[in-house]
Structures are given as C-alpha cells and as structure tokens.
Symmetry: C2
Subunit: 297 residues, 2 copies
C-alpha cells in the first residue's frame, strides 16, 4: 500500500509519497495553504496536486494541519491531552472512508484557558519514532511555537508561544521596522546578546525597545538588530519554560529556526537535536501503522 502524508497548513501545503517501509519516494510542495482555498474547493485543490499519487492501487492519505480547522476542508476534533497515537487513530475525520482522512489536533487547558495544536502532533509522534525518545521535551518553532511534554509515547501537555508571530509583526509593523534590516542573515553574537539580555528580568515589553535604542545610538548595526530582536524573543520564551532538570530536547522545524533555538538552549546547558519535514512523514507512517494494527486485530 502507498501512504500519502500531507501537511496542509495555513500558508503552505506539503505532501510526501511513502513506500511500505516509510521511505519517501517523492515530495511535493504547493503555495496552497488553506487561506488560499475558498470553502468548497478543497477536494479540487487536493486532486489537482495529488491525483496521480491517489490513483496508485491501495493509496491511503493522512492529512494533518489547519486543513482540519473550521476554515479548512472538514473540521477534525481535538484530542485532549494526554494523548497517544492510538487516540488520534480512533478520532480520524474521514473525507473518503478508507482512502483520505484528516488527523485530529490536540488540546490542553490550564487556568481556564485552552491551548491547541493542529499538525504538530503528527510531527511529535514522528520525532519519537525517528529519535527513539519517548519521554522528554519536544519544541516546534514556527509562527506559533509548541512546547510539548511527552511521557512514555504520549503527549501529556503543551504550551503555545506566539514568538514567531511577535517577531514578524514587530519587525514589519512596529517602530523597530524603521531601523531593522529585515533580510539580514543571522548574526550569532547579536542573537546571543539578545538572549542574554532577557536575564535582566525587565521583561519583553522593555527589552524589545533596546532593538530601537541600540540602533539609535549606533551601538549595533542595522544588520545585527534583527538577530538581537530574535534573541530577545527566543530568550524570553526560554525563560518562561520549565527547563529545570531537562537535559535533552528535540527541535522540529525549519533549519534556520531550529538552529536559533539550539544556540539559545545551549546557553542554559541543554543540547538539542533537530529534525525537519521528515518528522511529519515519520508521524504519518507511525499513525498508519497503528491503523493497520487496529484493522488486523
């Protein structure tokens, strides 16, 4: 049987065709995030990209991500933490029974405030499979970062941090946009200075202003200010995580981001390993294996 794994997010869509051993035979990406798809057009967009793969005998497709949201193809439920792969398998949202399904998201709650993820759950289960680590901390940087605690193969809880989106709106729409050089490459020294600054206890709302004044007084070149702001934000994020006693962290995301988190985590004595898109494919493969076991039992 050929497994098709699709990560259908807000702004982009990625898919992979896997063989029976979970190896990637082919990958596709398309700028068809759910925001670009009018309601009712999801099936047509899916066909336009994956029809050839789906025509293979026995093809089966698992879709994760925002395609399962209210604004997506069909609304998949949220599984409540703690949750394992078997819980996801039981709550699939079928688009075409036996052929196409959307994977449920996860939800957690603390202090009366819910938290949610869609798509990252598949990456986390995939990362467990690829690393063999089934108890620990998994961090998924992106627009809305997820910090997920895992114990014995189940996601016990998680927190979202809007770090990526704060970086985006501050560097594009705030006064900082006037002096930042948005497309500057990572300046490690400036980044680590930002991370270190957050230890002053003065908070993000104050420390972010340093990315303005350091430029104003020519203490830092505009090419370094973006890295400094990034360090201020990621340092703040780390400062509010329960990292005491944590030794190993698995980062999952784009290399440009996971590299920054690895650098920042190193400053608090944590060695992080990093995975990319392969975590999504491995997660879909692991979920598919659970479904097949369920069928045969």
């Amino acid at each position: 049987v050929g497994l098709i794994a699709v990560d259908w997010g807000t702004s982009s869509l990625r898919g992979a065709l896997l063989d029976d051993a979970g190896r990637v035979l082919e990958e596709k990406t398309a700028p068809r995030g759910i925001l670009t798809v009018p309601a009712g057009d999801f099936a047509a967009v899916f066909d336009s990209i994956f029809a050839a793969w789906m025509q293979r005998a026995g093809s089966f497709c698992l879709i994760s991500g925002m395609a399962g949201s209210q604004q997506g193809w069909a609304e998949a439920p949220y599984e409540t933490c703690p949750a394992g792969l078997a819980d996801l398998a039981r709550q699939l949202c079928w688009i075409d029974r036996g052929r196409i399904a959307i994977v449920p998201g996860l939800r957690d709650e603390r202090g009366g405030v819910p938290d949610v993820m869609r798509g990252e759950e598949v990456q986390i289960f995939g990362a467990m499979r690829l690393t063999g680590m089934t108890t620990g901390l998994f961090v998924l940087p992106g627009t809305h970062n997820k910090w997920a605690a895992v114990r014995e193969g189940r996601v016990t809880g998680f927190r979202t941090c809007m770090t990526g989106e704060f970086y985006s709106v501050l560097s594009q729409h705030s006064i900082l946009a006037r002096t930042l050089q948005a497309d500057a490459p990572l300046d490690e020294a400036a980044f680590l200075r930002g991370v270190a600054c957050t230890g002053n206890g003065e908070g993000l709302l104050h420390n972010a202003f340093g990315a303005r004044t350091l430029g104003l007084f020519q203490r830092m070149p505009s090419s370094a200010l973006t890295s400094y702001l990034s360090g201020i934000l990621i340092g703040e994020e780390l400062r509010t995580q329960p990292l005491q006693g944590i030794r190993d962290v698995v980062l999952i995301g784009a290399p440009a981001l996971t590299r920054r988190y690895a650098l920042a985590l190193k400053t608090v004595g944590i060695d992080a390993s990093a995975l990319g898109a392969e975590a999504t494919w491995a997660g879909a493969y692991a979920l598919h294996a659970v479904l097949q076991d369920g069928d045969s039992s």
Copy 2:
C-alpha cells in the same frame, strides 16, 4: 509675557497659550505630527498654526517631543539621568534665540542598552508641580510607555515599555486580529482577567495566545477579547516593574489609558492618581520659570 507650550509628537501636535500665572488661555491641536512634515517645512507648519500667538508682545515658545529628534525640526540633546528642570533649561535647543526653543529629551542606560524619552520629561516635571509629589513613581502610558523614578524633583531613571505598540500591532496584524473586535469598549471584567492571568508565570508570548483560544472555544465574546489582550499586556508590564514598597503612583496620559493602568495597579494595592494634557502645560510653565530665574540671577 505669554508662554506658548507645544507638544510636537510623532503623530500629532498640541499647543497651549498660557498666561503669566500658567493658566491655559487657549489650546490648539493639529494632525501635523512630525511624520507628516517634510524636512525643511517645520518653520512653515509652526507659523501656520501658531503665528497669531507668536505675534503677541513678548511671546516665548517651548516645544517638547519628537520635534527634537533627528527626524524633527532640530535635534535637541538628551540629558542624562539623574536630571532636573535646571539641567533641561541649560540644554535648550534654540530655534530662534529668546523666542522658540526645543526642550532636550532624557536618556538613561542599563546593562549597556540606552533608553530615551522626548516630551515625557516635561509632563513629569509638570506633574510634580501639579501634585506636589517630588519623590515617587510617574507612569506615562502611550505607544511607548515610560516608567520614571523621581527623587527630590529630579528624574533618577526610567524604563520604556512598548506596551501600546505591542497592543496595536498584535490587534491589527497578528492572528488575533481575526477574532478581536478592535473598537469594543473596555470590558473591565475581561481586562482584569487578563491582568490576573499574567500571574501564571507563563509569559506574554504564551498568554497572548489565550486571546485566540478563548475566542476559538467561545469562552469569551469577541467584544471582550480586546480588553483581555489589553489586560495581558498591562499585567505583564506591571509584573516587570519594581513596585515593592511603592504606595503612590502618578499616571499621566489619555484618560482611556490611565484608567486601565489605575485598575491594574489597584490589583497590586497601589492607588494611582491621573493627569492629562495639563501636565505638559504645567511642565512648560515650570521650565519657563526656571529660565526666568536664571535670567534674573
């Protein structure tokens, strides 16, 4: 002599004509913040608004705010904290000697990162005059809030918090914009729930996401989410200020903002009093009095 006090900021311009006792005879506002004024046009814009006042015998004008920045009429210096009124008087940036001057800003520095204000210093000295409080904490909410410590009539140090700008960019440009009702009036209960939430120690980057999920799960109406986000931001700001042992705080700013800070400060046992534009006029009057004393000595 007639004193003309002008607060010329980034996005707006306000002026007042004061009599010899510091009473406001007339006020003007114009949508001519420095961002609307091409370099070289400041004198013409000033004349178009204040020519009639300036024609009175003995007229003298003190301008504070971003008109003294690099992008303003002329670059006024920054006085280094601690600084008193006499320090400002000594460093005036004269546009027309004896007739028009720009008041210097203030700067402070901590951990190698500078901090600056332009315009708020005049409001702080005015608030001291109006309240009689010459030692204490003065808080000026706005786009870039200032928290200024004052001892015996001198500003000993201050911190900027970008709280107003964070609120603006998050509510207009982030994912929160999709569910927030931007023009909703203050919902005190939702605001105070946001303030209380920041006590969870999970940080702004996480807590802000609650303004998304509480809407997603219909736990809070969209009309309340703006107030909740405002509470999350102002609560975070308070959490990073050294408020231990502080009993009295003077707030200076627009009533819609100072009201929120007064509500939030009450939750930590602090009674705050509030002043508006009158602080600017009183500060210019006090500075003018110092200049006259200097002339006569």
